[in-house]
């Protein structure tokens, strides 16, 4: 029990804004019912403490947030993915350009053969062939983009494994874009603001000349909310999010049960996004 509490507390601590959302964060970890029954008070206290910079005891491997995308469900209801993408665009003020050259994408759709370039797409099952897959940043455990960045403007959040960006430090050298083997990064080739369809004042818009990508909704986690794409698919199980290091978490139970694949695992980046095909 104690161990579990610590786990989700660490997510809270990591996502910083603290106190506010601790109870809701229970959802991210283990056995929801148990945690929410017993731990509310304590959780709030601890999360507040974490936010003030007090050290949080480290569990053996720490929290590593990850995602399982169940393509079986998305192929049955392709509109789920459209909803997830729309939710992400709204949540993050992602500009919509009509030319491919300037595109900014955090989560988007692509055919199997483009997403899994190392896998054979010879005589692919019909449903797989006809379904668009969700593509987003893999939040690698060993991210090449972080290795390449000369200013640490992109970095791995130690407490939860999210590969995050500091838009104010980025010098726009685009080394991370060359380094990312998943094509997950976009660059603001021009001022994106006029191209934001619906402005969300809770998330900063970017300026021209910086790189951006999926942030696993770090800002929403901090408020105790699920990532926007996960929330958009709520109740369907199409996208499951949680701590890969927590044996009791929903995501781990799913991973234990189902056969999953990752994009280009041979590169040693250890992606945190899994697909059930």
């Amino acid at each position: 029990m104690d161990k579990q509490r610590r786990k989700f507390l660490k997510i809270a601590g990591a996502t910083a804004l603290a106190g506010i959302g601790a109870p809701a964060l229970v959802r991210l970890s283990a056995s929801n019912a148990l945690a929410s029954e017993h731990e509310h008070g304590a959780a709030e206290g601890h999360a507040a403490e974490a936010a003030h910079g007090a050290p949080v005891e480290e569990a053996p491997q720490g929290v590593r947030l990850g995602m399982v995308i169940d393509m079986r469900k998305i192929s049955e209801q392709p509109e789920l993915l459209d909803g997830a993408i729309a939710a992400c665009i709204d949540a993050h003020n992602i500009p919509q350009f009509d030319n491919r050259k300037s595109e900014i994408k955090w989560i988007w759709k692509a055919p199997f053969e483009n997403v899994f370039t190392g896998e054979s797409s010879y005589h692919l099952a019909k449903t797989v062939k006809e379904t668009d897959f969700a593509v987003l940043c893999n939040h690698c455990d060993d991210p090449p983009c972080v290795r390449a960045c000369p200013t640490q403007a992109t970095f791995k959040v130690k407490a939860n494994g999210i590969v995050a960006m500091d838009f104010h430090r980025c010098i726009g050298c685009r080394f991370c874009m060359a380094a990312c083997p998943y094509g997950a990064r976009s660059f603001n080739w021009q001022d994106p603001r006029p191209y934001i369809k619906k402005y969300n004042k809770d998330f900063p818009s970017r300026m021209r000349g910086v790189v951006e990508k999926c942030n696993f909704c770090g800002e929403r986690l901090a408020l105790g909310q699920e990532p926007a794409c996960v929330e958009a698919c709520k109740g369907t199980g199409a996208i499951v999010f949680g701590d890969l290091n927590d044996a009791q978490s929903e995501i781990r139970q799913l991973l234990d049960k189902e056969f999953t694949i990752q994009r280009n695992p041979s590169l040693g980046t250890k992606p945190s996004v899994f697909y059930i095909v």
Binding site: S102, W189, V211
Partner: protein
């Protein structure tokens, strides 16, 4: 010594004005890019580096090529290079100036460039590139200036300067090695992920740099009455020839590995460069004519170099073969190498890159700036040379 740049024949001033014109165009184009963003260029989400970074990569090589004069002269005491070693050092200064300008032109947020210093990041290869490039620039300014001053006073250069001269040799190798490491350590970019990139870069650098120096010497002989000497030129040709042969050999090895292993990732970029890549019924082949031009020029130049009459008796043919090899290597490294690395992209999609006019304006402006710097420095070097002769 700077005063030597202020006196010259009309041709000198016309040349400077000609370069100045391109520099002005470059500044105007850069102002537009600065105000709008890098969307002014032909770069895209898929081909996220373009002409700026490819010119940077090529010019690091030209800068490193200067060491092919420094090393024989200072380490092997090859006296014939005595008169032109300074040209190698000054060429390096001009080339590094261009490199730094190209990097600045490529940054999305140029005003934040110093973040590389404020947040030093030893796991990023760009961090080391910054150190070695600036270090090499400093070393060449220091060594070039001190040695030229001593020469002018007709005294031996101070002993301490030799420490920096010798230090500049590994620095020259390091600038191009680190530049190669920017590329060859990236997972998922098959074309770049090859251990031969650094040696290949060095080989092409040791051909391109000296080729430019021979061209400069031939021009200086006509316009400034400066004779580098037959022996020095012959030796330079030998160096260019071996370096260019090695580069050709390394490129061939890449082609062999790609095609014999038949691994698609290893083949695609090479196929894109030389034959065009077919994708969903469309053949993408922007770079094909350039690459074959490079091949023809490369072998043509090697043939001319191998012909004793052309390299020893006929200055026109010598100059021509140097121009040919320089252009061949520029296409190979200054265009093909960088652009093809992005084709296909990590999702096996193809986007071709075509630079915009504005981008070309900036690129030409920076090249003109480099030539401007080199012209001034060579004016000084040649001026000192004449002063001693009098």
């Amino acid at each position: 010594m700077i005063e030597k740049t202020l006196k010259g024949k009309p041709a000198y001033w016309i040349w400077l004005a000609f370069l100045g014109m391109f520099m002005a165009v470059g500044v105007a184009c850069y102002a537009r890019q600065y105000l709008f963003g890098l969307g002014m260029t032909g770069m895209s989400r898929d081909v996220s580096w373009g002409l700026y970074i490819s010119q940077f990569t090529f010019l690091v090589g030209v800068a490193a090529g200067g060491v092919m004069l420094v090393l024989p002269y200072y380490v092997h005491d090859f006296k014939a290079f005595g008169k032109i070693t300074i040209l190698g050092e000054f060429l390096a200064i001009g080339a590094i100036t261009m490199c730094l300008l190209f990097i600045m032109a490529d940054l999305g947020q140029p005003t934040r460039a110093l973040n590389v210093v404020f947040h030093p990041t030893p796991h990023s290869m760009l961090f080391y590139d910054m150190i070695v490039l600036n270090g090499y620039l400093f070393l060449n300014i220091l060594c070039g200036w001190v040695i030229l001053t001593a020469e002018r006073k007709q005294v031996h250069p101070p002993k301490w300067i030799y420490f920096f001269v010798y230090l500049s040799i590994p620095f020259a190798v390091s600038i191009h090695t680190v530049t190669a490491m920017l590329y060859c350590g990236l997972p998922g970019r098959h074309f770049w992920l090859s251990a031969i990139i650094a040696p290949r870069f060095l080989a092409s650098a040791f051909a391109a740099g000296p080729a430019l120096i021979i061209i400069a010497c031939l021009i200086l002989k006509r316009v400034a009455n400066f004779d580098a000497g037959k022996k020095a030129m012959d030796k330079l040709v030998t160096i260019i020839m071996y370096a260019a042969l090695l580069n050709t050999f390394f490129v061939f090895l890449e082609v062999f590995v790609g095609y014999y292993s038949n691994i698609p990732g290893h083949k695609h970029s090479i196929e894109y460069l030389f034959f065009g890549l077919e994708h969903h019924g469309h053949v993408y082949n922007n770079l094909v004519p350039f690459m074959w031009t490079s091949v023809v020029l490369n072998f043509g130049a090697l043939g001319l170099f191998a012909w004793p009459y052309a390299r020893k008796k006929n200055e026109f043919l010598l100059g021509l073969s140097c121009v040919m090899i320089f252009i061949a290597l520029w296409i190979d490294k200054g265009l093909g190498f960088v652009f093809a690395g992005f084709v296909p992209n990590p999702l096996d999609e193809i986007t071709e890159y075509i630079p915009t006019a504005n981008e070309l304006g900036i690129t030409l402006g920076i090249w003109a700036t480099g030539f401007f710097v080199v012209t001034l420095l060579y004016k000084i070097a040649v001026g000192v040379e004449h002063e001693i002769e009098e």
